[in-house]
Amino acid sequence: MVDQSRARSVTVITALFAVLLVAIVAGVGLGAVSVGPTEVFAAIGRALSGESGPVSDAVIIDLRLPRVLLAALVGACLASAGVLYQAIFRNPLADPYILGVSSGAGLGAIIAIVSTTTATGLRYGLVPAGAFAGALATILVVVRLASRRGRLETTSLLLAGVAISYILAALTSFIMVLFRQSMASVVFWMMGGLTSASWRYVGMIAPMFVIGVVVPLLYTRQLNIMLLGDERASQLGIEVERFKRITLAFASLLVAAAVSVSGLIGFIGLMTPHIVRLILGPDHRLLLPASTLAGASIMVFADLLARTALAPIEVPVGIVTALLGGPFFIWLLVRREGVR
């Protein structure tokens, strides 16, 4: 029985890796100028071995590949953060966007952007740091607001998240008005774009992703037990408050990584874990890695759609995910009401 479930996990994870590979090849290959899968692999091979190739190699290696990898990383970060929030709050409606964490990270990032007019190297360190500080501060405030005598109610959690989002959005707009000269780029970044993707961005958030997801992967058993409620989890030997704080810190790191390179992209963190849970069940040993991989694939496809649907116009990917995710969220809410 145990071996059976392990075999299933291996199959699922392998399949999801394959899907992600397909997504990446498709993402790199398709666009204004399309190239076939063999050409994609050939170009990557040439780049790795240092051979010189045709001009199209530059498009593939310097433009498309970093963008697709960045999309995959952002999707993976948001989806795994969603899994963590949903586990800690025992609420399938929790996600970085709805909880206001994305907005908090956004505000932190914008403050970092407008306050560093000097070297961009400094900016790369400061933007994620600002985003992380903003994300962490927001989740702490939202949880504080939503707690009633130590209990977190779903409704008050969502209300607090939405209310805080509004306030943060207003502050963000205010800062943008103050710094009018950089408004256009900030607005586009805010809407959730990957247009400015570069290898430098990939290099910046890859370590944040690895740290943010590897540590929670070691704690999947504890995440499962948290689903039984705080009191029971404590009776079963989990230091609940400390565990929550640690997990929220890692989730915030993941959100900060995503937001600092791509602005506010909603619903990936909500949809992905939910779909994966519906199909694979609640066990975090599988749910967390599977959601991470699925989030990466979904994001790569969403970005592909954003680039190609209205070509040559490019839609910010945040709009695509919101158009897909919004109705999904409504369906979730309606379904929950129906169940009660």
């Binding site: 058993r221 689903l227 029971r232 404590s234 009776q235 079963l236 030997g237 230091e239 609640p282």
Partner: protein, 414 residues
């Protein structure tokens, strides 16, 4: 040994229980009983760290529980909660395996031994047949037994049960409590909150009555479960008797203190015995009549009910004719009453005094039941008295009609 020494505990700054001292040694089941909100669950939650200990010391084998981290505590203390949250579709086996968390290394996976323990606990709690079912499809009773299996998988020395049988059917209630009894006999210390006093009396070694945040009384079930305690703690007049089958105490609540009208509606003298008068005594007390019952023998159901209802009476241990002064006392009771009710029950030398008193007194009279010579153990004396009473009386067949008759007789008086 789990030990409370002058413990004051609560939530935040609010103290719920004050100055509680209590020990739970290995091998014993200690029961906590008391009204809702008295603080029973808070005592359990002080042990698990969910409630704050403000003062006093709460120790397990000499180590303060307050200084223990959750992991060490969970290795020693297993809890079966009142209700179990299971909104996620883990299988029952995975659910029970979560109890092994504290026995695994922090990042390790379940070993073959862990799986063996889980299987053993599933079988002990009779839930092995549920092992592959998703827990979110199971009933409250199944979940409660799985929570017990989960707690036992922790291999704790101390087991805390918070009304752990509240969702169980009759069969599983006994199964779980028999299992807990066995575990205690094998050396576990068990502290259990009970709402069912009969089960508490049957399964515990000692009981502590929790009332208004303190221990009202503690001791063996028979020392603790008394009509006086039930009246002052639960506000209930109840009969405490021995269960004929198990031999343990059995509590039958008769009426709530607050249902008794504050003003007396009149007084009634009852001549009964053998349990025949119990129902009417309860009905009369509920209506606010003060009741007297003459002489009653120990071991008679009517005496137990009369005691719980605080009915005026004289308790007898012998079946002989009672001495003169007792007979006078009984006559006095009958004379003072606004109405007399005489039941057709067996009369012998002892309770003949009741019949004599009813006959000697004057005023409204109700006879309940049909007389037969077989009821007479006084060589015709009782039969003669009954016949003499028949002339000027209302005759009814049961307690409810007797109550109606008494009501009419007493209230028609000027």
């Amino acid at each position: 040994m789990l030990s409370f020494e002058n413990v004051t505990a609560g939530y935040g700054d609010t103290a719920i229980v004050r100055d509680v001292s209590l020990v739970v040694p290995p091998g014993e089941i200690v029961g906590l009983v008391g009204p809702n909100g008295a603080g029973k669950s808070t005592l359990l939650r002080a042990i698990t760290g969910s409630a704050d200990v403000h003062r006093g010391s709460l120790t397990l084998n000499g180590t303060s529980l307050a200084n223990m981290n959750a992991r060490d505590r969970a290795r020693s203390v297993g809890v079966v909660p009142q209700s179990v949250e299971a909104t996620f579709s883990f299988s029952a086996r995975e659910f029970v395996l979560m109890g092994r968390h504290v026995r695994m290394t922090r990042f390790g996976t379940a070993s073959a031994h862990d799986h063996d323990v889980v299987q053993e606990m599933l079988e002990l709690t009779d839930t092995a047949y549920l092992a592959d079912d998703p827990v979110d499809t199971l009933s409250g009773g199944d979940l409660q037994r799985l929570a017990l299996a989960q707690a036992l998988a922790q291999e704790p020395d101390v087991l805390l049960l918070d009304e752990a049988t509240s969702h169980l059917d009759l069969n599983h209630r006994l199964q779980v409590l028999n299992l807990v009894r066995r575990l205690a006999d094998e050396g576990k210390a068990v502290l259990a909150v009970f709402h069912d006093l009969d089960l508490a009396a049957r399964y515990t070694d000692r009981l502590a009555v929790v009332h208004e945040g303190g221990i009202f009384s503690a001791g063996g079930p028979s020392d603790v479960l008394t009509p006086a305690m039930l009246r002052s703690v639960f506000g209930v007049r109840a009969v405490v008797g021995a269960d004929p089958v198990t031999g343990s105490l059995s509590v039958t609540p008769v009426l709530r203190e607050q249902d008794v009208p504050p003003e007396s509606q009149g007084s009634v003298f009852i001549a009964a015995g053998g349990g025949a008068g119990s129902h009417l005594m309860g009905l009369l007390a509920l209506e606010g009549f003060s009741v007297s019952a003459g002489v009653l023998n120990h071991g008679d159901m009517d005496r137990e009910v009369a005691a719980s209802l605080m009915v005026t009476r004289v308790d007898l241990t012998a079946y002989d004719t009672p001495p003169e002064e007792i007979r006078t006392q009984v006559l006095d009771m009958a004379r003072k009453a606004d109405a007399r009710v005489v039941f057709a029950v067996p009369y012998g030398p002892a309770n003949l005094a009741n019949l004599e008193a009813a006959a000697a007194a004057e005023g409204p009279l109700v006879l309940v039941g049909t007389w037969s010579e077989e009821l007479d153990f006084t060589h015709g004396e009782a039969t003669k008295l009954w016949r003499s009473l028949q002339a000027d009386s209302i005759q009814v067949t049961d307690a409810r009609r007797a109550l109606a008759a008494v009501r009419g007789l007493v209230h028609s008086e000027p």
